[in-house]
């Protein structure tokens, strides 16, 4: 049924996204990249996919400029898609951008809190999280003004409303604000894909639910593990967990009570996937691997975070097996982001001559 009218509005975009998907780097490409000796070689290898964007780079560019240029391409393609999208598709793409907006707003709030010139910060903002009223944020000089007159005007206003007051902006750690916003965003997005008449009971809602549930669980687990040894209390921690996902509600409740890595392992043991991750990353034994002289995460085997990324990429890859859905856009953006991270990682390894861990990238094609 959903296929009947999808192509009227969404067919073109879906076609383009599938085209974009084909230009993603494959395992073969990554194999070639890891053989490179210099950044210039990397640039040359990337030429088929990123040619016109990398052309303006000077010889032997820094890895950060390489990352910037590859991000530029993602942004350009995303903007093109958004310009083509109509109706609920356009709304869906707006939702994709909110995640980046949260990062940008958090950055600007940090700047305002420390009374910096926030105009300089605009350049550091992620281009995907750009919204029209963002430069207005720079006008506000104190946090109350920012909250009362400026944040209200941003698309993120609903996420602030109800959960954060302007005193909170002043007092809470910016990371807590960011994660509160992100939690609200995920919940709102989840509601949107499941309740919007254009999306409910379509492949979009199925895929997006899976992706968002995974994202929610991942955040909950990460927040728990990263909050050990910090001043974040358990009650505050619980407020940051999204109220959906495969761990919700029992898993998140147990997470909120967890006091160490083993507690987290116990909390996630209800979900088979996460349990497997925990066991294979060696976290289950309470070995946190940090502080050894290797200076990196356990050089043998993958870290939990790597596995989450891997899982995310697989979900994204599988999204392309479905038709008549906007979820492919989301999947494509995520795949591209991972690709940029992979390129940066490989370039870093080559630039720093640390070839032994160059294979740590995640490739699903």
């Amino acid at each position: 049924m959903e296929g009947l009218f999808f192509n009227v509005n969404g067919g073109f975009i879906e076609g383009i996204v599938r085209g974009y998907r084909n230009s993603l780097l494959t395992g073969q490409n990554y194999g070639n990249l890891t053989q490179c000796e210099t950044i210039d070689d990397v640039k040359l290898q990337l030429a088929p996919a990123y040619g016109d964007f990398l052309a303006s780079l000077p010889p032997n560019p820094s890895t950060s400029s390489l990352a910037n240029k590859t991000t530029d391409k993602l942004v350009a393609e995303f903007r093109y898609l958004q310009a083509q999208a109509t109706g609920s598709g356009a709304k869906f793409m707006e939702y994709l951008k909110y995640g980046y907006m949260i990062d940008n707003v958090a950055l600007l709030i940090t700047g305002t809190l420390h009374e910096r010139d926030t105009r300089e910060l605009l350049e550091r903002c992620h281009p995907l999280g750009w919204f029209e009223t963002m430069p207005v944020l720079c006008v506000a000089t104190n946090i109350e003004e920012l909250y009362n007159s400026v944040l209200i005007e941003t698309p993120l206003a609903p996420y602030f409303k109800g959960s954060l007051s302007h005193q909170d902006l002043d007092e809470l750690n910016i990371e807590i604000i960011r994660n509160t916003l992100y939690k609200n965003y995920l919940e709102d997005f989840y509601r949107f894909v499941n309740e919007h008449p254009d999306f409910s009971n379509t492949p979009t809602s199925e895929i997006m639910s899976e992706v968002l549930e995974f994202e929610a669980d991942r955040r909950a687990i990460n927040i728990t593990m990263n909050s050990f040894g910090t001043e974040l209390s358990k009650e505050d921690r619980q407020k940051l967990y999204p109220s959906f996902g495969r761990l919700y509600p029992e898993g998140t409740l147990m997470l909120s009570r967890a006091e160490d890595i083993e507690g987290v392992g116990l909390a996630v043991s209800g979900v088979n996937d996460y349990k497997t991750f925990f066991d294979s990353s060696g976290m289950g034994q309470g070995v946190s691997g940090a502080g050894n002289m290797s200076g990196g995460s356990g050089s043998d085997g993958k870290s939990l975070e790597d596995m989450f990324y891997q899982k995310e990429m697989e979900i994204s890859k599988n999204a392309f097996t479905r038709q008549f859905t906007h979820a492919v856009i989301y999947a494509w953006v995520k795949l591209r982001e991972q690709e940029i991270r992979n390129i940066t990682w490989i370039a870093e390894c080559i630039a720093q001559n640390q070839k032994e861990r160059i294979g740590n990238y995640i490739s699903v094609f």
């Binding site: 420390h114 910016i174 960011r178 994660n179 990460n222 990263n226 990196g296 940066t344 870093e348 640390q354």
Partner: protein, 254 residues
Amino acid sequence: MSGAGDREAVFPTRQSLGLMKNKLKGAETGHSLLKRKSEALTKRFREITRRIDEAKRKMGRVMQIAAFSLAEVTYAVGGDIGYQIQESAKAARFRVRTKQENVSGVFLPQFESYTTEGNNDFGLTGLGKGGQQVQRCRETYARAVETLVELASLQTAFVILDEVIKVVNRRVNAIEHVIIPRTENTIKYINSELDELDREEFYRLKKVKNNKQRDNAAAEQEELGKRRGSDKENEDDTGTPDVLGEREDNDVIF
């Protein structure tokens, strides 16, 4: 000998000879002391050079690891967190204190690093993702800074010691090659002058003696001549009438 004519402007007197001899002795003592100091410093200097070499190699390794862990953070967080960290850092966790060490009279500053516990300003950074990498990266960088502090104190000691060794060596050389030869020259000069004076004095005395003898001889001669003359005169004298004498005048016979 170099600077044969190089000597101090002194009057060649016995007193200044004594002074010079004292000075020479002082210079020699000072020379041996300074020489020993210089040797002690050089020994220390070599040790520091060796440790700098080690520290630099260590720094190279540690910094490489640290830079790589930063790359890991970038990979895990998927963005730039630099600004956020700069803004959330409020108080220094890693601090340095200095103390002084005395190496044969030279004060070398030494830096000592320590971390203040319970100061974790950006503990929540990367809460959503990448937090562990951020913390690990911080640890590696703390180690890197430790190495840098160690290297810094070695380098400072190196520079200061270098300076001091140069000064000491200059002094040693100055004493060895300028002051001692000059003092020796002066002593030699004074000695030679004094000898000269002695000889002059001797000659003078001789001369005086000669003169005296000659004078004496002449005087004797004269005396002798005089005596002889006076004898003659005496003879003549007998002829001279004592006008006023009580002798009875011979009657003048015209």
